[in-house]
C-alpha cells in the first residue's frame, strides 16, 4: 500500500496533478512536447537484456505500452540473456540489419562506435533536466567526445555479508581499507564461515572484484594514451594481496560463474562475497512467502561499499547498462523519443523502485528515489554509478578496452597467480602480451 501512495505522490508532483497523473496522460503530454517526433507508422524493434526482477520488467512494459499508444509507434521488445546480447549486437553492427535499439551491458557500444546512432541531443536533454550525468556514466555514453549511447543504469556490486558471521569474527562492520578487509576474511576462514569471490570466467562478478583490487592498488591495464602499463610494481602488489585474500576463500572459486556465489550464499555455505543485491532480494522474497530460514537469512544479510585501497579513493567496476541505436535504423526519431521517455521521472522513478536496488541511477536527480531509503540495506547501492570507474579505469573507453574485458585478461592474470599456475612476473607478462595483441 505504501508503495502505491509513494508512487502516486511522485507522479503527482511531476505531472499535472494527482488526478491526471496516469502514465498514459504523461505519455500524451510527452508526445506533445518531445523534441523528437516519431516517423509516421514507425515500428521500433528493441532488444534488451532479460529481466531478472519481475517488478522491473512490469514497470518497463507499462512504460512501453504507454509510449506505444501515445506516440503511435509499434514497439517490439525482445529479450536475450546477458551473455547473448553482445554477440547479437555485434552481428547487427556488422551486417547493418537488426534491432533499432539495443539495451546492452558494459561497453558493448564501444565495440563499434562508428555504427551507433549519435545520441548527444538525448543525453543533453536528459542531463539538463535531471541534474547531470555522473562522470562514469558520461564515459560509458561517449566515444570521441560524442554521445553514442545513453547509460540507463548501472548494476551495483558490493560486499554482501552475514552480520552474525562478521560479528563472530570480531568485526562490527566491513573494514574500510584493504588490509583490514583481509584480516576479516582470515578470521572468517578460521571460524569456518568463509568468504568467496569468483575467480572463473564470470563476466560480471569476476571482472568487478578483480578490477577493484587492481585499480585499488593504483594499477591499470592501460593509461590515457592506450599505453600498456599492466606490468608494474603496483600490479605485483595487487597480485600479492589477491593471493592472500584468495587463500581464505571457500574451495571452488576458480570454477565459479556469475551465479555460483548466489547459490552458495543462499545455501548458507558462503558468508561474504561481492554481488548485486540479488542474494538479499531472493532471501527476502522467499522469507515473505513463509520460508523461515530465508527470512532469518535476509535479516542477517547486509551490504557495504568495497573497501578503499592504496589508491585512496573508491575505484569500483560496476556493470553499466547502456542503450544505443544503430545508424542504419529507419526510425531514429522514434528511437530517441523512446530513450528519452524511459528516462523521464514519471517512468524512471517507478522503474527504479521496481528494480529494488538491482539497478542504480546515472542521473543525479534520482538520488532522492525512495528505494534507497525505504530499506537501509539498499542504501549503498545508491552510489554505484558515483563510485564506479569506466571499464577502462584511467584510460579511454574503446573497442580495445571492451575486447580486453571480454577476453578476461585481468581476471585470468589474477586467477593464474592465485591458483599457482604462474608466478607474479610470468602472469604479468602473459597479461601484458595478451594486451599487446589487442592494442597492437
Amino acid at each position: 500500500m505504501t508503495l502505491i501512495t509513494r508512487r502516486s505522490i511522485l507522479q503527482g508532483a511531476a505531472a499535472a496533478g494527482v488526478a491526471g497523473g496516469t502514465l498514459y496522460d504523461m505519455a500524451k503530454a510527452f508526445a506533445q512536447t518531445s523534441p523528437w517526433k516519431p516517423e509516421a507508422g514507425a515500428t521500433l524493434n528493441v532488444l534488451r537484456w532479460k529481466r531478472f526482477v519481475q517488478a522491473e520488467d512490469d514497470a518497463f512494459m507499462k512504460m512501453v505500452d504507454a509510449f506505444s499508444k501515445a506516440m503511435n509507434v509499434k514497439v517490439n521488445i525482445s529479450n536475450e540473456s546477458f551473455d547473448d546480447i553482445q554477440p547479437k549486437a555485434s552481428v547487427a553492427a556488422n551486417t547493418g540489419t537488426g534491432p533499432d535499439l539495443i539495451w546492452g551491458l558494459h561497453s558493448t557500444p564501444q565495440l563499434f562506435p562508428e555504427k551507433c546512432m549519435p545520441m548527444s541531443d538525448v543525453a543533453d536533454y536528459l542531463g539538463k533536466k535531471y541534474g547531470g550525468w555522473f562522470p562514469a556514466a558520461e564515459a560509458y555514453g561517449k566515444s570521441g567526445g560524442k554521445w553514442i549511447a545513453i547509460p540507463v543504469a548501472v548494476n551495483g556490486g558490493y560486499v554482501n555479508y552475514r552480520t552474525s558471521s562478521i560479528n563472530k569474527a570480531g568485526f562490527k562492520e566491513i573494514p574500510k581499507d584493504m588490509p583490514g578487509f583481509l584480516e576479516l576474511c582470515k578470521a572468517l576462514k578460521k571460524n569456518n564461515t568463509p568468504a568467496g569471490f569468483a575467480l572463473g570466467h564470470a563476466s560480471g562478478d569476476g571482472n568487478a572484484w578483480l578490477h577493484w583490487i587492481l585499480w585499488g592498488h593504483n594499477a591499470w591495464l592501460v593509461d590515457k594514451n592506450d599505453k600498456i602499463i599492466i606490468n608494474s610494481p603496483e600490479t605485483a602488489k595487487a597480485l600479492e594481496y589477491c593471493k592472500a585474500l584468495s587463500d581464505t576463500f571457500i574451495p571452488g572459486c576458480a570454477s565459479w560463474n556469475d551465479s555460483s556465489n548466489n547459490k552458495a550464499f543462499l545455501a548458507g555455505d558462503l558468508h561474504l562475497t561481492l554481488n548485486g543485491i540479488s542474494i538479499y532480494v531472493a532471501a527476502k522474497t522467499a522469507g515473505a512467502q513463509g520460508d523461515a530460514k530465508m527470512k532469518a537469512l535476509a535479516e542477517d544479510i547486509n551490504h557495504a561499499y568495497m573497501p578503499v585501497g592504496p589508491l585512496g579513493k573508491p575505484a569500483e567496476l560496476q556493470l553499466a547498462f547502456p542503450i544505443f541505436g544503430f545508424s542504419y535504423t529507419k526510425v531514429p526519431n522514434a528511437a530517441k523519443a523512446f530513450v528519452a521517455f524511459m528516462m523521464e521521472a514519471q517512468n524512471y522513478n517507478p522503474w527504479l523502485e521496481g528494480a529494488q536496488g538491482y539497478l542504480s541511477h546515472t542521473l543525479a536527480a534520482y538520488d532522492n528515489n525512495p528505494v534507497w531509503t525505504a530499506d537501509p540495506k539498499t542504501t549503498v547501492f545508491r552510489d554505484a554509478a558515483k563510485r564506479t570507474l569506466p571499464a577502462s579505469g584511467i584510460g579511454t573507453l574503446s573497442p580495445k578496452v571492451a575486447a580486453a574485458m571480454a577476453e578476461f585478461i585481468v581476471v585470468d592474470m589474477f586467477a593464474r597467480y592465485c591458483t599457482g599456475q604462474e608466478d607474479v612476473k610470468t602472469t604479468m607478462k602473459t597479461a601484458e602480451r595478451a594486451a599487446q595483441r589487442i592494442f597492437r
Binding site: 574451495p251 576458480a254 570454477s255 577476453e407
Partner: protein
C-alpha cells in the same frame, strides 16, 4: 536441300543452344544445383574465413590485408597453444573411450536380449537430450558446493571436502572428457550396432565349424567386416569432438584460467566477444589441418581394402 539443312543446323543454332542440349554438357547442368549449394554454403564461408584470418577485421569494420600477422601473434600465444593442446587431448581421449565403450555396447546389444528394442532405445537417450541441457546437468553434478558426487562421497565418509571438479585445471579437463564421452557413446554404439547386423550369421557358423574361438570370430569375421563402418563412425566422432563447443561453453567457458579452451571456444571468444574477427578466423583456420589429418587417417588408415578406395575387391 540436305546440304542446306545441315548448314542451317550448324550455323543457325547458337552456342547457347548447343551447350543446352549437348550430351556431354547435360551432366554439368545436373550437377550445377548441387555445386551451387556447396559453393554458396560451404566453399564460400570457408574461403571467407581463411581470407579473414589474413586481415585485421574487427566487428563493425572490414579489415585490411595484414599477411601472416595474426598467425605470428598466435605462434607465441600461450593461451592459443593451450587450446591446441586441450583440443587434441579432448579429442584423442574422448574418441578412444567412445569407440571402446561404443563397440562394447554394440556387441552387447547385438546379442539376443529380452526387450531388445527397448534397451536399444534407452542407450540413445544421452544422444537425444539437447547438448546444452545435458551440459547444464553435468555442470550441477560437478558444482563446487552442490555436487551430488561430492555429497555422496562425504555422506559415505570417504572424503571430507567437496571435490573441486571444475576449479582445478586437470580435474576440469577430465570432467569435460567424461561429459563428452557420456554424450557421444550412443552415436558410436548405435551406428556400430547397425554395422554388426549386416554381418551374415552364416559367416559365424562357418567360422565356428572351422573351430574358431569367440575371440577369433570377432577378430577375423566381425572386425574386418566392420571396418568400413568404423571408419565412418570414427571420422564423424573425431570431427564432432574436435569441433565441440556447447559442452565447454555451458560448463566452463574455457576456464579455469583458460585450461579448457578448445580452439572453437577460443575462436568464438576472440572473434565474437572480443571483436577481433581476424584473429578468431585465424584460430578457426588453424583447425583445418588437424581436421584434414583426422579425415585422411580414417580414410586411408582404416579403409585398407581396395574397393573402399574405389578399386576392385581382391
Amino acid at each position: 536441300m540436305t546440304d542446306a539443312a545441315i548448314a542451317t543446323t550448324a550455323t543457325g543454332r547458337s552456342t547457347w543452344e548447343r551447350l543446352r542440349s549437348h550430351r556431354d554438357w547435360m551432366g554439368f547442368w545436373f550437377m550445377l544445383p548441387a555445386a551451387g549449394i556447396l559453393i554458396l554454403f560451404l566453399a564460400y564461408p570457408l574461403g571467407l574465413g581463411v581470407w579473414l584470418s589474413f586481415t585485421d577485421a574487427k566487428i563493425g569494420r572490414s579489415g585490411s590485408f595484414i599477411g601472416l600477422e595474426n598467425y605470428d601473434w598466435l605462434s607465441d600465444d600461450k593461451i592459443f597453444w593451450g587450446s591446441v593442446f586441450f583440443t587434441l587431448f579432448y579429442t584423442i581421449f574422448a574418441s578412444i573411450v567412445k569407440f571402446a565403450l561404443g563397440l562394447y555396447l554394440a556387441l552387447l546389444l547385438n546379442k539376443n536380449l529380452p526387450m531388445k528394442a527397448l534397451l536399444r532405445s534407452i542407450v540413445l537417450i544421452p544422444y537425444i537430450v539437447p547438448t546444452v541441457l545435458s551440459a547444464i546437468a553435468f555442470w550441477w553434478i560437478y558444482d563446487s558446493s552442490f555436487s551430488i558426487i561430492s555429497w555422496s562421497l562425504i555422506k559415505l565418509g570417504l572424503i571430507d571436502n567437496y571435490i573441486n571438479f571444475l576449479g582445478d585445471p586437470w580435474n576440469a579437463r577430465w570432467c569435460l572428457v567424461v561429459a563428452n564421452i557420456w554424450r557421444g557413446v550412443p552415436f558410436v554404439a548405435i551406428t556400430l550396432l547397425a554395422g554388426l547386423q549386416t554381418v551374415s550369421p552364416s559367416l559365424y557358423e562357418a567360422a565356428t565349424i572351422d573351430g574358431a574361438s569367440r575371440w577369433q570370430n570377432f577378430r577375423f569375421v566381425t572386425y574386418p567386416l566392420l571396418t568400413p563402418i568404423i571408419a565412418v563412425v570414427m571420422t564423424f566422432s573425431v570431427l564432432f569432438t574436435f569441433t565441440d563447443f556447447q559442452l565447454i561453453w555451458a560448463m566452463t567457458r574455457g576456464g579455469p584460467v583458460n585450461a579448457t579452451h578448445l580452439m572453437a571456444t577460443l575462436s568464438y571468444q576472440r572473434a565474437i566477444l572480443g571483436g577481433n574477427l581476424g584473429e578468431g578466423a585465424a584460430i578457426a583456420t588453424a583447425m583445418i589441418p588437424f581436421l584434414l589429418a583426422a579425415i585422411m587417417f580414417s580414410w586411408f588408415g582404416l579403409q585398407k581394402r581396395k574397393w573402399q578406395q574405389g578399386g576392385d575387391n581382391d
